[in-house]
């Protein structure tokens, strides 16, 4: 069992990061914390693409391009999320996700 990182080592790594991201989204009370966990998710997904691209049989670049785009999308998401959190903070004085639950039933 050679220790040098094989494909499935990389995949396991990215999946672990992904799962931690999920844990973060599901449990973080602070909205910004949730956003950070989302960034984690996107980052590990981008890594996934690069891993697959790295181990692709043919010389491929699509995975790398996808990674680039993912970063751009993450940026866009972060922008909107931040704007929303600020708007919420202004009207509710809190960004604690668990307290923002007036819409239910």
């Amino acid at each position: 069992m050679s220790f040098s990182p094989e494909l499935h080592h990389w995949l396991i790594l990215s999946t672990i990061l992904f799962s931690i991201g999920i844990y973060g989204v599901l449990t973080r009370r602070n909205a910004v914390g949730v956003l950070m966990s989302v960034e984690l998710l996107l980052n590990s997904a981008a890594m996934n693409f690069l891993i697959f691209n790295h181990y692709a049989s043919k010389p491929f670049i699509d995975g790398a391009i996808m990674a680039l785009f993912i970063i751009a999308v993450a940026a866009a998401e972060a922008v909107i999320a931040m704007a929303l959190f600020v708007a919420i903070f202004r009207s509710r004085k809190t960004v604690d996700v668990t307290q923002i639950n007036t819409l239910k039933g």
Binding site: V97, T98, N101
Partner: protein, 653 residues
């Protein structure tokens, strides 16, 4: 057949039932609102012409087929009304044979007399036109019933007769007692008609199956229908049904239907209450015509009844029991019409058990029964019309506040006396001959039990008839209404007189030559002269009645005390009515229809509401899933992903 071909009466025999129908429509729709008088006249005239026609037909028929010779059933006119299936067509028409002619004559004759009588009796009553319309409807349906060539047409008119009697009994619809009486009559007869219908269906289907397999029996045309009497009464069919074991149950079912209409024992409760209707109605329907429909039916299906044997026996014993049972009750009643009602019950009991004792070979019973039907129609109608005249005069039914009417109403008195003598079986009058033949036929066919009952009842009949006669007509007047009583007007007395004449002379008709079944005519063969004991028991009955009721009435009061409890039970008609009431109201209404109505409301309806409620509950439960927590939502999502992946994995592999 050809002799009758050119006889006018035979060719348009259909007019006989049709005339009352047309006059029913004309009077009902047009004349009634216009003028009462005209309605009465038109109605009476139509029935009178029908009577004339039927007598003419009778004359033609019996001249074509002289006495003693074989009397074939000829269909004078028919058209296919309803075609269920190949061998199940119903061709409505007019069958002319000795039985139907007898009935036609009796019905039209008595009906026209009752119509005439009613013109006087009903004068001044509101709904005068309506009364005559119903009377015409009744006559039409009764005639339709007797001329029916097939059993389904009989059933159809059977129901129409039931409805018209319902309408007539409930004529005074403002009187609650009349309303409930009409309801009771209709429902009881309807209950009996149920068994009749099932019997008809059973025979028809067996016949249909047989014919669709083997084709029509040789002797009959191949498009014969399983309903036609010609098919049903053919001997081959009866044998076939018998070995299938269906003949006896079918015949007993039909007999129950007949028992319902003719008010035999268990189903008799409606007849006494039917007296609520106007008296001429009782005279026509509950004396002469409707109640004998049952007898007619059994007579019409005599051959299959005889073939099944047990069915006839059942008829015999039921008839006998009714005869005794009714006679005993009749002795205790105070209302004059109730007494006559029970006496009708008892006389019909006679006719039924006369048929019961007869058999395929011994047809004397058959002839005797129809002869009694013939004579009974006249004197019973007379008795009722007489009673009607009396009631009309003193405005009460209770015999105890009548008395001494003989002087006030001579004609009614005499005619009533003739009828009483006739019914008691005193020699020259009609009753003697017909009742004697019945008792003879019972004796002749060794049914000694029935014979004994017949003999005893002859005495009892005489007793209660004379009790009535003595109490109403003789003795002192017991109420001042009697003093004001005066003789009934002309239109009422004429029918009385005619009927009295007939009840006197009818006995001498050699009935056997005209009406009989099977080959030879029914004549009482020699042997022990049965009429002697019959006459003796009748006279002894008169004597006892004379002894108790003539002169002062203490003796009758003393008699009632001594009998005490027994008297009360008989007077209360053995509480049969109360039993029926108990059964219908308590059991059917409370224990069947109420629970069903409740069950329907609560369980079935509840079931539907429950499903509605459950969906709403489901909605509320699921809506609570939306907790408002964004993170619960995301957890649902992730778990959803895992679930879908795992599910695919499980299912696909």
């Amino acid at each position: 057949m050809n002799e009758l071909a050119n006889s006018f009466a035979f060719n348009n025999a259909w007019l006989i039932p049709a005339l009352p129908f047309f006059s029913f429509l004309v009077v009902g729709l047009f004349i009634r609102p216009v003028s009462d008088k005209l309605a009465g006249i038109v109605a009476t005239l139509s029935v009178a012409t029908a009577a004339f026609l039927s007598i003419w037909l009778a004359f033609d028929y019996f001249s074509a087929f002289p006495a003693g010779a074989e009397h074939p059933g000829l269909i004078s006119w028919s058209f296919e009304w309803l075609r269920y299936e190949e061998h199940l067509a119903v061709n409505v028409g007019v069958l002319v044979d000795s039985l139907s002619i007898l009935l036609m004559v009796v019905v039209t004759f008595v009906s026209s007399l009752v119509h005439l009588y009613s013109i006087g009796y009903m004068k001044g009553e509101d709904g005068y036109g309506r009364y005559f319309t119903y009377l015409n409807l009744f006559t039409f349906s009764m005639l339709g019933l007797v001329v029916a060539p097939n059993i389904l047409q009989t059933y159809v008119f059977w129901e129409l007769v039931g409805v018209s009697s319902f309408l007539l009994i409930g004529f005074y619809y403002t009187k609650p007692s009349a309303v409930s009486a009409s309801k009771k009559a209709f429902i009881v007869t309807r209950f009996a008609d149920l068994f009749f219908l099932i019997g008809v269906l059973l025979i028809a289907v067996v016949g249909y199956n047989a014919m669709s397999m083997f084709g029509a029996p040789g002797s009959l045309p191949d498009n014969v229908s399983a309903f036609d009497f010609s098919y049903l009464t053919s001997s081959g069919v009866s044998i076939m049904m018998n070995n299938l074991g269906l003949l006896t149950p079918a015949m007993i079912l039909i007999f129950i239907g007949a028992a319902g209409k003719s008010a035999l024992f268990p189903l008799h409760i409606w007849l006494p209450d039917a007296m609520e209707g106007p008296t001429p109605v009782s005279a026509l329907i509950h004396a002469a015509t409707m109640v004998v429909a049952g007898v007619y039916l059994v007579a019409r299906l005599f051959m299959p009844f005889a073939a099944s044997g047990t069915a006839l026996l059942v008829a015999g014993y039921v008839g006998a029991f009714t005869c005794l049972f009714a006679a005993v009750i009749a002795c205790t009643q105070d209302d004059i019409k109730r007494v006559l009602a029970y006496s009708t019950l008892s006389q019909i009991g006679y006719m039924i058990f006369a048929l019961g004792v007869a058999s395929a070979t011994e047809t004397l019973g058959y002839t005797a029964s129809l002869f009694h039907l013939f004579t009974h129609a006249f004197f019973k109608a007379l008795l009722f019309l007489g009673a009607g005249a009396v009631i009309h005069a003193v405005h009460t039914n209770n015999i105890w506040n009548m008395g001494g009417l003989a002087k006030k109403m001579p004609i009614t008195n005499i005619t009533f006396l003739i009828a009483t003598l006739a019914i008691s079986g005193v020699w020259p009058f009609a009753g003697f001959f017909s009742k004697d033949e019945i008792i003879a036929s019972a004796f002749g066919t060794h049914h000694y039990v029935i014979f004994a009952v017949g003999l005893l009842v002859a005495g009892i009949t005489a007793f209660y008839m004379f009790r009535i006669y003595i109490v109403t007509f003789l003795g002192k007047a017991r109420s001042e209404a009697v003093n004001k009583a005066h003789e009934a007007p002309m239109t009422m007395t004429i029918p009385l007189i005619i009927l009295a004449a007939l009840s006197a002379v009818a006995g001498f008709v050699h009935f056997g030559d005209f009406v009989s079944v099977g080959a030879e005519s029914g004549h009482a063969e020699g042997g022990f002269p049965i009429w002697i004991p019959a006459l003796l028991s009748g006279l002894s009955g008169i004597a006892i009645a004379w002894f108790i009721y003539a002169g002062n009435s203490e003796r009758s009061k003393a008699l009632t005390e001594r009998l005490g409890a027994i008297y009360r039970v008989i007077y209360a008609k053995f509480y049969i009515d109360e039993i029926y009431l108990f059964v219908t109201h308590k059991i059917i209404f409370r224990f069947i229809s109420a629970p069903i109505a409740w069950f329907d409301k609560r369980i079935v309806d509840g079931g539907v509401d429950l499903t509605g409620w459950m969906t709403r509950r489901g909605g509320a439960v699921f809506s609570r899933l939306q907790t408002g927590q964004a993170q619960t939502y995301t957890t649902w999502m992730v778990n959803g992903v895992i679930a879908v992946a795992v599910l695919i994995w499980i299912f696909v592999s």
